[in-house]
Amino acid sequence: MATGGDLLPPLAPVARITLWHTMLRIRRFEETVERLFLAGELPGFVHLCIGQEATAAGACAALRIDDYITSTHRGHGHTLAKGADPARMMAELFGKATGVCRGRGGSMHIADFSVGMLGANGIVAGGLGLAAGAAMSIKLRGTAQVALAFFGDGAANRGPFHESLNWAAVYRLPVIFLCEHNQYASTTSARSLTAVEDIADRAVAYAIPSVVVDGNDAEAVYEATRVAVERARSGEGPSLVECKTYRLRGHYVGDPTTYRDREELERWRARDPLLLLEYRLLQEDPTRAEELQRLRAAVEAELEAAVAFARTSPLPEAASALEYAFIG
């Protein structure tokens, strides 16, 4: 499978600016969450996707609002990129009754069904089978939707990854498996405990076309995902898109990251996905600086409002702890 660069028209400038804007919204959301967590304002624990914004933004830009995604324990970026309201997301992280999951899920179980976001997942590889099932439902109902599962390099070592790929292939499901290879499974380098360099190699075993792209290049992620989405929508079955990226923060907020060296971090920092696209946009047309500046201000205003909403929202009534435990 090609990256799609030859098959698709180049992204219009406005769409590229939107990609950058989405990445900035994710970056600033995550930086804000980090600050709030360290200040003791957020319960639980959080996993940040700083450094991986291009995969969320690029992949979701290739989807429609009624398409489905499933996500990982590092799912804020995916949720935002799919179109969730940052204020209700922030309220969820605060454990507030106004949160998108009414304070029942928190960071690791954030979901917004109204935009096709079927949930982050605290279980590594938990989302792949769910996306395959959503794709089966799409086929049964005869709609033109697709489902996309984000997963990490660590998930590729769990059984459900293998079962889901075979499953999607034999039923030719409209599903995209999007691997965010961020180099670390929790605190362990992928290189040390994964037998292959590219997760995409494993797709061969399931007769699924795959591609490896620069996961810090939002446009490349978008293009590869778009080819996979077209395949899925036209009934040609599943694809695997592997995005090589890097987790610029630790596994969780507070992780001392003693397992990696500074040089590696600096190397990836120099390839920051936001800077990459910003550089490209400005090099082509320096007058865009004003537009980007305006968007920066808009992002800050949106976040400020989100935090204010979360802070001032009520906590759930303690007596409602059992609500939603059972359906019906």
Partner: protein, 331 residues
């Protein structure tokens, strides 16, 4: 007693098939998936003829991938369909435990009620014909212990149909335990115009004044045989309650009976240790202590995996004779 809408008889396996057939006719989003169900008709014949009527899109043969089967069913249930999963043997639920426990059971709460999850997992359980340790287990207590799941275990063909229909129409995940030894059992089964049996309602199978025998699934039939023997040989009137649903369970019907009989025996095929009988006994002690004239007796399998050889298998199964002896020993 149950309303029986017609005189015709079906086997337990046929009754489950009729339930699926009727539900698939009334709702095009109902579909079935599992190993060997479409071309083979299910290893116990419970899916025969369904692909001919509904097609292979709605009766789906799957790979031996229990984790993917349940995960896919969860994903499909979240997005507007009503999947009915067949797990070959209840023992194999262990291969999909994460999908059942961490996904299906928790999704409603985790997502703050955003999700409907109309999912049925059919799980053939119990001992039959020396199926040995990995094909004989009665693991229902694990699932009762997991908040978010409903658990049913019908004992008759009529209940097999009615509870499967109720499970399919339920908007949440239901684990449906069907005992393998019951598949060939024949009994009256209501026709299509009868309402499904509500989940959470027990059935009083036999009236009696002297002792309440509480059971579910196959062991109900041992309890009934014991009750007949107690009556004819010892003039002891046993009331037999078939719980049918384990979560939610009908404590009201049980309490009403116990307040009348003052003696309780609970019998199930699952191990006694940590079995559902413990939950029933504890509830009765909490709610009806003053009505009890004797200690509650629990019968269940001893704490062992199920052995293979016929006399060994028979040794760990709760029988009518054991129930009779235990009731007589209550004094």
């Amino acid at each position: 007693m149950d309303t029986i809408g017609a005189e015709r008889e079906l086997t337990y396996a046929e009754a489950t098939r009729e339930a699926m057939q009727e539900e698939m006719r009334r709702d095009p989003t109902v579909w079935l998936l599992g190993e060997d169900i479409a071309l083979q008709g299910g290893i116990f014949g419970q899916f025969q003829h369904l692909p001919q009527e509904f097609g292979f899109e709605r009766v789906v043969d799957t790979p031996i991938s229990e984790a993917a089967i349940v995960a896919a069913a969860v994903g499909a249930a979240l997005t507007g369909t009503r999947p009915v999963v067949d797990i070959h043997f209840a023992d194999f639920l262990t291969c999909a435990m994460d999908e059942v426990i961490n996904q299906a059971a928790k999704i409603s709460l985790m997502f703050g009620g955003q999700a409907r999850l109309p999912l049925v997992i059919r799980a053939p359980s119990g001992m039959v014909r020396s199926a040995a340790a990995q094909h004989s287990q009665s693991p229902e207590a694990w699932f009762v212990h997991t908040p978010g799941l409903k658990v049913v275990a019908p004992s008759t063909p009529a209940d097999a149909k009615g509870l499967l229909q109720a499970a399919i129409r339920d908007d949440g995940p239901v684990i449906y335990f069907e005992h393998k030894a019951l598949y060939t059992l024949r009994g009256p089964v209501p026709t299509a115009d009868v309402e499904p049996i509500p989940i959470g309602r027990a059935a009083v199978r036999r009236k009696g004044r002297d002792v309440t025998i509480i059971s579910y699934s196959r062991t109900v039939h041992d309890a009934m045989a014991a009750a007949e023997a107690l009556q004819s040989a010892h003039a002891i009137g046993a009331e037999v309650i078939d719980l049918r649903s384990l979560w939610p369970w009908d404590s009201e019907t049980v309490l009403r009976s116990v307040r009348k009989t003052h003696r309780v025996l609970i019998a199930h095929e699952a191990p006694r240790v940590g079995g559902f009988g413990g939950e029933v006994a504890a509830t009765l002690v909490e709610e009806a202590f003053d009505y009890l004239d004797a200690p509650i007796v629990r019968l269940g399998a001893p704490h062992t995996p199920i052995p293979f050889s016929p006399p060994l298998e028979q040794q760990v199964r709760v029988t009518a004779a054991q129930i009779v002896a235990a009731v007589r020993a209550m004094g």
